[in-house]
Symmetry: C2
Subunit: 128 residues, 2 copies
DNA sequence: CCGTATCCAGAGGGATACTG
DNA sequence: CAGTATCCCTCTGGATACGG
């Protein structure tokens, strides 16, 4: 399938998709859910290295609102909450796979041309 | 091809790819360059609806540093600068295509479940 | 365990004016 | 045309503490 020839206008399907997937963590969260299927909150937090609980819940809420992720809570003590991809979310798999495939293919190139994108976290900066 | 079973750790190929493609405009810029091949700065600015010259040049610099985009300047008056994708950049096409395909497939769903993500620009907020 | 609330530094990013 | 420079606001997103 060839790329559409229309202009990269706002509200075209391409840009709308980017809106849904924007943010620092959405791809990683979806990747993790694709790998493991249903996951508890804590499992996701452990699996997506570097994310904080605060950001995880925010991103999950957004994904849920867009119909990508399904949330199911059980009235147990302590609470149990399970997240999984909806059918719509599962259909994102080709995108995740394409990104991963490119990463594997170009790992050497990326590492080589890597600029100092490394930025200090606020906390790290304060300590310094 | 199945997704890799490794944890979504920092510095895995998947996360590194996200680092390269992070930011609000990179996917759209690459999409445009895939469609049109070599483009002048002004053409890109027109094609990627909503981007400002400031952000465009910033994103292009980063993409160039990562070896995704090639920049060629001609010593003409007025100046002519052409941007194109490197071979490495062209290899991102499957990702762009996957995103676009998903957008077309799920356009109805997205539009329907759209939350008020609309946010005022600083200028719009000042005027209000 | 699963969140929420609050605080806050700084990166992202728009507007505008200016240069070669 | 192809950028730079400056200003400044907003939102992201980390740290921390707390509630059900």
């Amino acid at each position: 399938m060839a790329l559409s020839q229309e202009k990269i206008i706002l509200n075209c399907p391409f840009r709308q998709t980017l809106d849904v997937l924007e943010g620092k963590w959405k791809f990683a969260i979806i990747h993790s859910l694709l790998l493991h299927g249903t996951m508890r909150f804590k499992a996701l937090e452990r699996d997506v290295e570097g994310i904080t609980a605060r950001m995880l819940i925010k991103e999950l809420k957004l994904l849920e609102a867009h119909g990508i992720v399904h949330r199911r809570a059980y009235a147990t003590v302590p609470p149990t909450v399970e997240y999984s991809l909806t059918e719509c979310g599962q259909s994102l798999e080709p995108i995740i796979q394409a990104i991963q495939a490119w990463g594997i293919q170009n790992q050497a190139v990326i590492t080589q041309s890597k600029i100092s994108t490394a930025r200090k976290t606020p906390a790290a900066a304060r300590k310094a």
